[in-house]
Amino acid sequence: MIHSLFLINSSGDIFLEKHWKSVVSRSVCDYFFEAQERATEAENVPPVIPTPHHYLLSVYRHKIFFVAVIQTEVPPLFVIEFLHRVVDTFQDYFGVCSEPVIKDNVVVVYEVLEEMLDNGFPLATESNILKELIKPPTILRTVVNTITGSTNVGDQLPTGQLSVVPWRRTGVKYTNNEAYFDVVEEIDAIMDKSGSTVTAEIQGVIDACVKLTGMPDLTLSFMNPRLLDDVSFHPCVRFKRWESERILSFIPPDGNFRLLSYHVSAQNLVAIPVYVKHSISFRDSSSLGRFEITVGPKQTMGKTIEGVTVTSQMPKGVLNMSLTPSQGTHTFDPVTKMLSWDVGKINPQKLPSLKGTLSLQAGASKPDENPTINLQFKIQQLAISGLKVNRLDMYGEKYKPFKGIKYMTKAGKFQVRT
């Protein structure tokens, strides 16, 4: 299946290669570089590139291209899903997944990759099991390792892989037993010029951090499970219980994992927590244009909107912008024509605004489209769909765990057309 993996940074350097079958020369990446050149942006590189003898399947994450080389027919999603799993694993191991971090931890990376595939076929992809095989680096362990020369490789053998509950290692012990669940919802929306919703839907996940001793058996129930339209589960969730009772029943993996992801469809009315007032105008006669945007809260259920950022790709004809924000900071990159405004919190009493002029290339005709505005924001303690966890119960263990549930709403792909 997967023959080799190349990690390529955005300037086109191959900084890591790994082969699971015979070695494929890195010159195969030339085809990739060609495609990269043709695509104007990194995201536009086609995910599947055929070459005379190989196929290159890639994902682009954290400014790194993960390029898998395959030789024969395979479902492309299989490879792409696996590559994403690789990235997730790195992120889980090192906190961030970036070129310097991978370079610093190249040995661990190599050991992990070695365990993830055998002959190109996935072997151990569950991060909990991998962590049992190869310990993630911590500051303490790094220090100890340098002094004593001891290792990152787990000294016990991974029994979890052989158990009935392959995602959980045995013999887990904690002094503080805790289970935290984060319900995170992202709003994907397109708003039109007048501020009405063209389309809006919610993508939600429940991420868990479970640190419980022994073999706890958890059930999580919702007040309103019918809201969830399209769900997909971590393999630990018992599907039958969900089908019959709409209850999530599972033996959790140890540590961080994504329990559930769901979708609340466009048919349900989605509350839109912010609005953007904008007036952007280019005049044919002059080389100056006017720019003004204001951001304000709409349906926030009484919560504060934080972490607001506004970005907008200006038309090519825009040379520069001179703007004054009422709060926060803004930048305009005259090369990429990207305007970004870091707003911060929205104070409903004093709405943040960004005003000023933009200068256009002299003599150039006025751009025929106004730029779209992309919005980022966060609202703590609110799941915008209204999803509520009813209760969490634990069976199979005697101690009382500490349980915590957090809700958060974020902007996903939130776009305002102007």
Binding site: P47, P76, E114, D118, P122, T151, S244, E245, G396
Partner: protein, 1065 residues
């Protein structure tokens, strides 16, 4: 293989250098070869020194640096001799890193690599399965042809390893060996065949992968394992699921007939979306009346459905393609496939300016396919936004899309056309050009009335520079030159002026235009055309020169011109068929959905064709065999071939009988003595060791298909004697009521077994008066009396064989039950009759509140006849009033989600003082939730509840002590709950414990060889999960109560209920 040789040739330098270095350490050679990289060499020198030091820390540091070099793609092959020495290091990390190195460079350093082999051979014999597995992994990854025989041997041994993890690695090794040496194919297929029989979910995905790579055409190897794979699928790891589903899709297309029929309802209006299947539809037409889906086909479709909830996109896609390719059209909607299903999600496909180009294109394609009369106006408005997009390529693609919508939906053709005309004044050239091209195509479809547009476009020629657009305009004017008689010659005049500077594409169209005008309006254009033809004659492009010569000969009359020139006008101005605006994604549907080939629309190497449905289904019975083939796990492969058809039939029906018998026990309504005491004989009877061994050997003889007939004979006789034996023993040990009743029945039974032919009818006749639901049994008996006669002696006699009452259920039910049997945990374990049926009744409706109608219920502990997931409940209704109560029935049911209830038939009337007993079935979904419903009479409705005690959610099972321990071993960890009990010693006698336990819960006793341990087994009614209860007597007056079950919730409730009962005096 090609890449192998590539790799060789690419790094010869490195290889040689390393060899040199090896001969003459300390490396004078590199001084020459690597003069420029002096520092590198030095570095490698100190790496060598570190590797040779006796400190692990230094070695580890060296290995880490070497791995770093490999990762960066630097050549580290010259360190091979120094590294390979450490292959046997005690330090795990060093060892692992050496493995990494070895696998990377062994191919280049074959001779040296051989030094490491013995280390792996030793490790292959290690008692630890993980070490065996990793040794096999590395050994098989070393691509050195000399060790092929060693690898083959290792794979063969590993494929018979007790550890499924090692077997999984063996499956991976098969592919590696195959790519190293395809000559080994035949031998490897044997191993694959063996591993395909494996029951472990760990192995399934990997071996199917090996199958797909080595011998995808040997579909015959799958037959016997088909049902098992379907049933295991949910529990296989996600990557394996993808591979298995793809393989099973191909399998289904060769083994089942098409489920696609014309009368499928959906098909009628959606036929155009399924064009590719039209042929099949026709073919199946003849058979459509008698089409019934093969239960195995159904099994696959049903068992893949839950996987749609997988978090792994590849799994979801795999299921989607399976539904697309093999499910009936009406069911494909599950994956939102039929386009109507996508419609509500139309807006989800709206494009954002930040989407990557590929996503934009795909979204556009989807939107186009979803467009219809109802939504086109919304869509067109949305498209307007896209046309204005800064991404001009995307804008152009949108214009194409608008064109397609215009052709597909005639209502909007006009609107689209005028919209596109507006775009002609767009500032962006790409947009204008694309519009011109699309308008040209649209106009061609409906000529005549568009003179205005053509005039408008003619004006554009002054401004627009994109060749395709110019060419399109010229062509359009040429085609319609008679409709714009004044403009056309003027255009030609302008073009003649700029001819030399035009693009080739445009030049050709200028020639065309000239020719057409010459033919229609030669008066005005004759000279112009001749001028253009002269220019064309000396053009640099031969294509244009050819065309010029051709046109001249055709249109300009001269003495040489042949007959054709008469028809020149007809040739040039013929009615041309309108082009079809087609999807760029068309024509890839002959590839299997979700494959690489489908994505690229190119046949990828290794693509496996999806065959068409067979006209007539191949023999479905080929899949039957494996029902028993599975139960034996590691049968010597030679023997399987000996199985003759008679034997197959024999053992298969045996299997069915078994199911039947277990079910039928359940049917015998009412607390039948015979049933209860028989299991009493089994449970209470023997604590001696030999009997438990015997019963386990029975289990084996049932489960192992290769057991020859003689074998059976012997086991039969053995069992007879065993039974007699047991009978005697139980009669000796009259410790409790139950065991004493047991003894009598056991004696009866042993006599039964001596005259098998009578046994069934005898049991029956004994029951008829007592049991209500008796009739179906008689129906079934005549169906295959021969089989039951044959099989009886093979039965585990403790479970009384009574026939299954509902043959109608059978195909799917049997499949279900097989599923249960095959599931990795359980081998053959029988549901038995209850040890004890408590007579305690519960009040359902008090006579005071029921206006004279009183109702009581109790649990007869019989498997329910209505549905095997239901608990049967008997309700006794009494009329305590002085009037007749009429029409007693169950009214509205308020059941928790998932719960189901089978009601009794309405009772017409109940006389005063009258009493009647009815039975209902309730599927409690293995929970102790209350089932609420209304008990109604003609005049009133009463709300009543049934809450089951947890012990009634079980069905007792018989199993041997060995079985029990094995199952218990698999249900440890979180599946185990335990408690300590303290009670007076007199309460800890076997009979007391038995009595107390079975009073609380419907458990079957397991024969035990130890006096101080009592075991009980049952399965939950709904899910069939095992519930194993152990009471282990300890020193003093304590005992340990242990419950093992997957249903931890019920397990803990049961534990709570049993604990006080056992500790009571």
């Amino acid at each position: 293989m090609t890449s192998n040789s590539l790799a060789y040739s690419e790094q010869p330098g490195g290889g040689e250098a390393a060899e040199l270095g090896q001969e003459a350490i300390p490396a004078p050679a590199p001084a020459g070869a690597f003069g420029l990289f002096g520092s590198d060499v030095k570095k490698n020198e100190d790496l060598k020194q570190m590797l040779e030091s006796n400190k692990d820390s230094a070695k580890l540091e060296a290995m880490k640096r070497i791995v770093g070099m490999i990762a960066k793609g630097k050549n580290a092959s010259e360190l091979f001799p120094a590294v390979v020495k450490n292959v046997a290091s005690k330090n795990i990390e060093i060892k692992k890193l050496v493995y990494v190195y070895l696998v990377r460079y062994a191919e280049e350093q074959q001779d040296l690599a051989l030094l490491s082999i013995s280390t792996f051979q030793r490790a292959l014999k290690d008692p630890n399965q993980l070490i065996r597995a990793s040794a096999l992994r590395v050994l098989s990854s070393i691509r050195v042809p000399i060790i092929v025989p060693i690898m083959m041997l290792a794979i063969k041994e590993a494929s018979a390893d007790l550890s499924p993890y090692v077997r999984k690695n063996a499956a991976h090794a098969i592919q590696k060996l195959y790519s190293l040496d395809p000559e080994q194919k035949e031998m490897l297929i044997e191993v694959i065949e063996k591993l395909l029989k494996d029951k472990s979910t760990l192995v399934a995905g990997s071996v199917v992968m090996a199958f797909e790579e080595v011998c995808p055409d040997r579909i015959d190897l799958i037959h016997k394992n088909y049902r098992k794979l379907c049933n295991l699928l949910v529990d296989v790891e996600e990557w394996g699921q993808v591979v298995i589903i793809h393989m099973l899709t191909r399998y289904a297309r060769t083994q089942f007939v098409s489920p696609w029929r014309e009368d499928d309802g959906l098909d009628d209006n959606e036929k155009n979306f399924y064009e590719s299947e039209d042929e099949e539809t026709e073919k199946s037409d003849k058979r459509k009346k008698q089409y019934t889906m093969d239960p195995d086909h159904r099994l696959l479709i049903r068992n893949t459905k839950p996987l749609l909830q997988s978090r792994n996109a590849a799994v979801v896609m795999a299921v989607a393609q399976l539904y697309w390719h093999i499910s009936p059209k009406s069911e494909a909607g599950i994956i939102s496939k039929s386009l109507g299903m996508f419609e509500p999600y139309l807006k989800s496909f709206y494009v954002r300016s930040t989407d990557p180009t590929m996503i934009k294109t795909l979204k556009l394609e989807i939107l186009t396919n979803l467009a219809n009369e109802a939504n086109i106006s919304t869509l067109l408005r949305e498209f307007q936004t896209y046309v204005k997009s800064q991404d001009k390529q995307f804008a152009a693609a949108t214009i194409q899309t608008i064109g397609r919508c215009a052709t597909n939906i005639s209502e909007v053709t006009e609107t689209c056309l005028s919209g596109l005309v507006c775009l002609l004044s767009n500032r962006d050239e790409i947009v204008v050009a694309e519009s011109v091209v699309v308008i040209k195509k649209l106009l061609q479809m409906q000529p005549a009335q568009h003179g205005e547009i053509i005039k408008h476009m003619a004006k554009l020629l002054d401004s627009i520079a994109v060749p395709v657009a110019r060419a399109s305009i010229l062509w359009l004017i040429g085609e319609n030159c008679e409709r714009v008689p004044r403009i056309a010659p003027d255009v030609l005049r302008k073009m003649a002026k700029s001819f030399t500077s035009e693009d080739d594409l445009v030049k050709l169209q200028i020639l065309n235009l000239g020719a057409k005008l010459y033919l229609t309006n030669s008066k005005q254009t004759k000279l112009l055309t001749q001028y253009i033809l002269n220019l064309g004659k000396y053009d640099q492009n031969y294509d244009i020169r050819d065309r010029t010569r051709f046109i001249r000969q055709l249109i300009v009359p001269n003495e040489k011109s042949g007959a054709l020139s008469k028809y020149a006008k007809k040739i040039f101005l013929a009615q041309k068929p309108a082009p079809l605006l087609e999807s760029p994604f068309k024509e890839r549907d002959h590839f299997q959905l979700g494959t690489l080939s489908h994505t690229l629309n190119i046949r990828a190497s290794g693509y496996l064709e999806l065959s068409n449905w067979p006209e007539v289904a191949p023999d479905p019975s080929v899949r039957n065999v494996e029902v028993i083939g599975l139960a034996k796990e590691w049968a010597p492969s030679g023997k399987t071939k000996k199985e003759n058809p008679v034997k197959k039939f024999y053992s298969e029906s045996e299997e069915e009988e078994e199911e039947d018998s277990s079910d039928s026990n359940n049917d015998s309504g009412g607390p039948s003595d015979s049933a209860s005491c028989i299991s009493g004989s089994e449970s209470g009877g023997d604590s001696s060791e030999d009997s438990s061994e015997d019963s386990s050997s029975e289990q084996e003889s049932e489960s192992e298909s290769e057991s020859e007939v003689e074998n059976k004979r012997s086991s039969k006789t053995q069992r007879k004697s065993d039974l007699e034996d047991r009978g005697k023993k139980t009669s000796r040990s009259k410790t409790s009521d139950m065991s004493s009743t047991g003894s009598s029945s056991a004696e009866e039974n042993s006599s039964d077994s001596e005259s098998e032919s009578e046994s069934e009818s005898e049991t029956e006749s004994r029951k008829v008066p007592k049991v209500k639901e008796k009739k179906p049994q008689q129906d079934r008996n005549p169906i295959n009396p021969g089989v039951s006669l044959l099989d009886l002696d093979d039965f585990n006699l403790v479970s009384t064989p009574i026939a299954l009452p509902t043959p109608a259920l059978s195909p799917s039910l049997i499949a279900d039950l097989e599923g249960l049997n095959l599931s990795s945990s359980s081998s053959v374990i029988n549901v038995s009759t209850p040890v004890f049926v408590p007579t305690k009744t519960h009040v359902l409706l008090h006579r005071m509140s029921g206006k004279g109608l009183a109702a009581h219920y109790f649990f007869p502990r019989q498997p329910c006849i209505f549905d095997d997931k239901m608990v049967s409940v008997q309700i006794t209704l009494n009329n305590t009033s002085d009037r007749k109560i009429e029409n007693i029935h169950i009214g509205e049911k308020k059941l928790p989600v998932g719960m189901k209830m089978h009601v009794f038939n309405p009772i017409d009337s109940l006389e005063p003082e009258g009493s009647i007993t009815v039975s209902v079935g309730i599927d409690f979904c293995d929970s102790t939730q209350t089932a609420s419903f209304q008990l109604c009479t003609k005049d009133d409705c009463f709300n009543v509840n049934i809450q089951p005690p947890v012990g009634e959610l079980l069905l007792p099972m018989t199993m041997s002590e060995k079985e029990f321990k094995k199952e218990q071993g698999m249900l440890t960890g979180m599946n185990e709950a335990s408690a300590t009990i303290i009670a007076a010693p007199q309460n800890f006698t076997s009979s007391m414990i038995l009595q107390k336990v079975v009073n609380v819960a419907n458990l079957g006793a397991v024969p035990t060889s130890q006096d101080n341990i009592h075991r009980f087994a049952a399965k939950t009614v709904h899910s069939g999960s095992l519930m194993l209860v152990t009471v282990e007597l300890k020193e003093g007056s304590t005992a340990q109560l242990i419950i093992n079950t997957e249903e931890t919730l019920i397990g803990s409730v049961l534990l709570r209920e049993l604990k006080p009962v056992l500790s009571q005096g």
